[in-house]
């Protein structure tokens, strides 16, 4: 063998003669040539909105856009906060998002458990029907939903935002798939140990589902927080507006205060970012979980 001739105890090791067989180590992978520009394209709108939020009104109006402003006007944030009832907007958005997250965790998990484990007539048909509704665009059910909410007397209220969004088909589907992957023997063991159906659900199934529940919570929070169309339809007064709808007030019929609008937008994204950073551990874990049996 080649190494036998190169490395001999009677001779000092000749390093020059040993060919370097290690692969060359770049500090990055060739993929980065592709991924970094792609990331920049994705980040561009975000960067642009942050820059715009720090410009003067005239800089913000200009085209082509001014990407390096003369000075950073942090006062835009104060102006934006003072020119509209942002406190109300934030409060409404938090109420809307937290209530729908709570509602989805409660109702979706119960429904999903029934679909995953209980045997009842027509359960499969019912589940398929539910899935079919996922394919119906929101615009189609917008008017019927509006009429129902009006009958409930919830037009122009935060309650009107929350009630139609308390339980979503997506959540039922996501949780059902996860529950089905849990070993059924755990639940049988608990039933023999004396737990009721609800006891099994609360003490065995839910604690084991923390990652997927966290995922649903994040997704639902994001949806509610960023929701614009539904609030636009049913909310008319600023004191019941959530953030996204409130921000649109910067957009007048003739003039748009782009710098203030962007300052408001950046502020509105901070809670979303915080939630994601806080829960991303579970989020990623649950994506890794799917399909893997214990």
């Amino acid at each position: 063998m080649a190494t036998d001739t190169l490395i001999r105890p009677d001779r000092p090791l000749d390093l020059e003669a040993v060919p370097d067989r290690r692969p060359r180590h770049w500090p990055f992978s060739p993929w980065h040539f592709f991924l970094i520009p792609l990331a920049l394209i994705m980040l561009m709108p975000l960067i642009w909105s942050v820059i715009t939020s720090l410009e003067t009104a005239s800089e913000a109006q200009r085209f082509p856009p001014v990407l390096i402003p003369k000075a950073l006007h942090f006062s835009n944030y104060v102006d934006a906060w003072n020119s509209l009832p942002f406190g109300h907007f934030f409060l409404n958005s938090f109420l809307y998002s937290l209530a729908t997250v709570a509602g989805n965790l409660l109702f979706c998990s119960l429904a999903a458990y029934a679909f995953a484990r209980l045997r009842f007539v027509g359960s499969n048909l019912l589940f398929v029907l539910l899935l079919v509704t996922l394919m119906v665009p929101f615009q189609v059910v917008l008017i019927p939903t509006f009429l129902i909410v009006r009958h409930l007397g919830l037009i122009d209220s935060v309650g009107g935002l929350i009630v139609p969004n308390l339980c979503g088909v997506f959540g039922i589907f996501l949780l059902r798939q996860f529950f089905q992957s849990l070993p059924v023997e755990l639940e049988e063991a608990a039933r023999i140990d004396g737990a009721s159906r609800l006891g099994v659900f609360l003490k065995i199934v839910l604690p084991l589902s923390a990652p997927v529940l966290a995922t649903l919570a994040i997704i639902q929070f994001m949806w509610s927080w960023n929701d614009f169309l539904w609030p636009l339809i049913i909310i008319t007064s600023p004191e019941h507006s959530p953030l996204q709808l409130g921000l649109s007030m910067f957009q007048g019929a003739h003039v748009t205060n782009w710098n203030l609008l962007m300052a408001g937008t950046v502020m509105s994204q901070i809670p979303m970012l915080a939630v994601f950073l806080f829960a991303q551990r579970w989020f990623i874990q649950s994506i890794a979980y799917t399909g893997i049996k214990q």
Partner: protein
């Protein structure tokens, strides 16, 4: 503690699969009963029926004289050990053991006392703060046993509890299970397809096949006096050799082998010879002989297994299968196994003469498979 009875129990699954077919079986208080059979024979379903995890299609199940057929699992006061242990992964060993007691609102001091007692009995004291993921296979098995013991139930149900352990641990746990049962004397139903477990652990065996109970009896009884060809073939390792034979004038003829079987009616039948009934002794008046071509030799130390062929036709232990009509040519070979003295030096390719005592030859009806003597 209590006796458990099946009364004409049938369980059908959707799609018309009959998993358990009119099972009637009485398990007296304190007995260690083994349900044994090949996979898919309905033994696990029978166990799940006792646990209440399945509901009988017809018939009834009684525990301690009380009809529990329609009771939920929690109201039956039984404990079950699952094949994969089913330990709650998010709870510590202590909480796993205590879960059943907590569900039944047992006082905290009492929970503590029983968990401590059971964990000492099973050597789990050091592990109480760990989670199942941090335990070895054998430790998990013991926690699963502990979870059943701590409840002090009327009956234990064990579903192949040793099948996930390695061979050495299995032997160790088998002895431990037997010791536990002798100590506690609680009615136990144990499902297995491993006949060594069945023979060594059970007070009695219930052999099942295709949902039907084939035979119930002590291990020795079932081994020595199988009621049909299925049981004869299933119990015993290596399995009994089965040959097609014809009986005429009190003698059964199967290939070269001619055995005196005076009580057996004339006509076709199946004869069975256990591998350990065959020996290399010279045939004499009291023994019949057959030529055996050795193909494979497996030395086991004290004894050896010789696999090879003899003249004749194999018979199937499953009498529902169509038995091919005996061909007239004598060329047909049947694969059989002999368990011989380990000191013999036999080689593949050798032809030897095997002898068997007629008293050790079993005979079964060719059509129904029932034992004929």
């Amino acid at each position: 503690m209590a006796d458990v009875s099946f009364r004409d129990v049938t369980k059908e699954f959707p799609g018309a699969t009959v998993a358990v077919d009119r099972l009637t079986l009485d398990i007296p208080d304190g007995e260690f009963m083994i349900l044994v059979g090949p996979s898919g024979c309905g033994k696990t379903t029978a166990l799940r029926l006792v646990a209440g995890l399945e509901t009988a299609t017809s018939g009834s199940i009684e525990i301690a004289g009380k009809n529990v057929t329609h009771l939920s699992p929690r109201d039956r006061d039984i404990a079950m050990v699952f094949q994969n242990y089913a330990l709650y992964p998010h709870m510590t060993v202590y909480k796993n053991l205590a879960f059943g007691l907590r569900q039944r609102k047992t006082a905290k001091a009492e929970v503590d006392r029983r968990v401590t007692e059971v964990s000492a009995m099973l050597g789990l004291d050091e592990l109480l703060a760990r989670r199942p993921a941090q335990l070895s296979g054998g430790q998990r098995q013991r926690v699963a046993m502990g979870r059943a013991l701590v409840r002090e139930p009327k009956a234990f149900l064990l579903d192949e509890p040793l099948s996930n352990l390695d061979a050495k641990l299995r032997v160790q746990m088998r002895a431990e299970l037997k010791r536990l049962h002798q100590q506690l004397n609680v009615t136990t139903i144990y499902v297995t397809h491993d006949q060594i477990e069945a023979m060594t652990l059970g007070d009695r065996l219930a052999v099942m096949s295709a949902g039907k109970l084939q035979q119930v009896g002590t291990p020795q009884d079932v081994y020595e006096r199988p009621t049909n060809v299925f049981v004869a073939h299933f119990i015993g390792s290596p399995p009994m050799n089965l040959l097609q034979a014809t009986v005429a004038e009190g003698r059964a003829q199967a290939g070269d082998l001619s055995v005196e079987l005076p009580q057996v009616p004339e006509g076709p039948c199946i004869i069975g010879i256990r591998p350990d009934s065959l020996s290399l002794r010279e045939p004499d008046d009291s023994r019949s002989a057959l030529d055996f071509d050795i193909e494979v030799v497996e030395p086991l130390g004290g004894e050896l297994l010789a696999h090879g062929s003899v003249n004749g036709h194999l018979a199937s232990p499953d009498t529902r299968e169509e038995t091919p009509v005996l061909a007239a040519d004598s060329e047909s070979r049947a694969e059989i196994t002999a368990k011989l003295d380990g000191r013999l030096r036999l080689k593949a390719g050798e032809r030897v003469r095997l002898a068997v005592h007629p008293g050790e030859v079993y005979a079964f009806d060719a059509a129904t498979g029932d034992a004929l003597r």
